[in-house]
Assembly symmetry: D3
Homo-oligomer: 135 residues x 6
């Protein structure tokens, strides 16, 4: 690991980030970091994951709900994809994720909900395929 990644805050963040988004995906991002991408990797891991996701007042389930809601409103399909996966890892049921999208239809508008649903269904398919492979 790069020397600037050797902080307590980074390690704390990395642990949470791996647990939520999956070890393989996160390890790849961190291992491939170069001078161009390392400062953003550091910022995201320390600040987003170590600082905010590491706070106790909300549990991870609630934080996953918040992220799905915000990312749908913000129109960020790449991140929705990651955080639907994170939501499943954090114990949300598929029905609960569906309800977030329904509520987003009202507050963010129907196109936001349809776009989020499209990405979500793709993640569910990937999960099913991965589960089938493991058998």
């Amino acid at each position: 690991m790069r020397p600037e990644f050797e902080t307590e805050q980074f390690k704390k963040g990395l642990k949470i980030r791996r647990e939520v988004l999956g070890g393989a995906y996160v390890d790849k991002s961190v291992a491939s970091a170069d001078d161009m991408t390392a400062p953003l990797q550091k910022l995201v891991t320390e600040w987003c994951w170590g600082e905010v996701w590491g706070r106790d007042t909300l549990d991870r389930r609630t934080r996953s709900f918040l992220n799905l809601a915000m990312l749908t409103a913000l129109n960020r399909p790449h991140e929705i994809r990651l955080h639907v996966r994170g939501a499943l890892n954090n114990g949300l049921t598929r029905e609960e994720i569906r309800e977030v999208i329904l509520q987003a239809a009202i507050y963010c508008g129907v196109p936001a909900a349809l776009d989020a649903m499209k990405v979500t269904l793709e993640v569910f398919k990937e999960f099913d395929a991965e589960a089938a492979e493991k058998k």
Copy 2:
């Protein structure tokens, strides 16, 4: 009440809307409805409140979390104001609302969080003043 408000769906929605946002505020919106505003009042009460807030899969606490997150992302201070109030009515603590704003700082950006905090603090002051009056 206007005749188009006399549906089962409207009554169901009105009950939930009053419980979440407060009876006085909602009754005023409904009572003042005229030909210009009634169709939107009907749409919001039946669909948003009767249909989506009325679904069982998520409890009201979770729906309040989602709304605070979405409204902060969407940059809608009038609605944040109403739904901070709704969140307190639905049992969120002030610390939990603070955490939503912190998480929004990461995903929606610092200006979104600062704007949401400003409105939230104003609602807390109003609540304290109302509580002091009741004593």
Copy 3:
């Protein structure tokens, strides 16, 4: 059809939705609905199409103009694609659609207009190919 789709409002909405977006596309969405997607299909068909598109005050041509304008502002290319098709079905000329995009360049910014133009040209090509096939 699923039992929850057997309402008057759904049937009314489905008819309009098919006429605007095309029967094949809509039938596929409805037929493939499962427990994950059915509530959103129901919401969209009843609320968006039955309730709002079903209102008389504006004709479908005007509603298509509004949708192209809003979807360009909202940065939702999947929906722009559907509603360029809908606009052509509702009788807008290609020149009229072009004018919406030009006006969007002013109010939503040049990148919004360029992105909408890109999707629009793709739909026009699809239409031309479909017309050529039918001959």
Copy 4:
């Protein structure tokens, strides 16, 4: 008038802008232009009004519909205020403006519609007050 305002394109745009938004408001913006604001006044008058609003393919009524839709989606209350006024000047009825807001509730989300309705009602009141004064 400032020398850089003496172009054919500016005069063409100014005429349309005055007819849509009202002469008093526009004359004030143009007359008060200084080195800070003149380039933006010039850009808006020549480009937005002379170039785009001056095109023939869409009539002014349709352009008002488009603007109300886009400005609601873009969350720009100052401009909604001006263009509700412009819409009334261009012959839209209050019921037609209401329908734009209802359709925006679906596509832009309920908070966008409620915010637009609030501003719209204020403009209607101003119009009624001005009409009462003229009697």
Copy 5:
């Protein structure tokens, strides 16, 4: 100062934040911090100001340009107000700020530019009044 503010990163950030936004404004935000607002104050001061504004690759003038551009696009008038002030403190001329707004008219749309101009002119007036007072 609260104990959680006693970090090196906070002190570094506070120094830069005071230099850019003005000492009086920042000191008030920090001094008034309570359990509700302190975590966000800490996050903003350490990460936004200590970490990102504290990096060497871009000078403060360039960072002010970036902020004016982003905040105009993001539709955040409270923050535009602060950062027009910051831009003047960082040595941007009024003409340079005007040019940012003109470029935003093209890319973010005319309403974004007009809204930003409105706030900017108010800040310039405040600056002139403060300068007149000091004489």
Copy 6:
């Protein structure tokens, strides 16, 4: 070239646009213009490039900084791609582009920064491949 492209303003804009975005890309857009796309090509070339990019108060380096910031905030990956290329042509270093993205992480949110980084890295790869080919 189409007759409506034969204005002084268009030629001025075309020259700047070619220098910033690259001659091959721009020539293709202009040469392929038909009745559908020509008015937008004309609007963009004359107003965006001839009028605003052609102004003296800001140099092209600064305008590239502004564009990267705005386009990241506006969530427009196609345009980010073009303007990362433009930024390199205007002399920004890769480190400077990285810093824009880091600052956007704070103000526009982490997902905006991650999406912009993704596109930026792709452009850097293309540049490297083109440089390798030329050898």
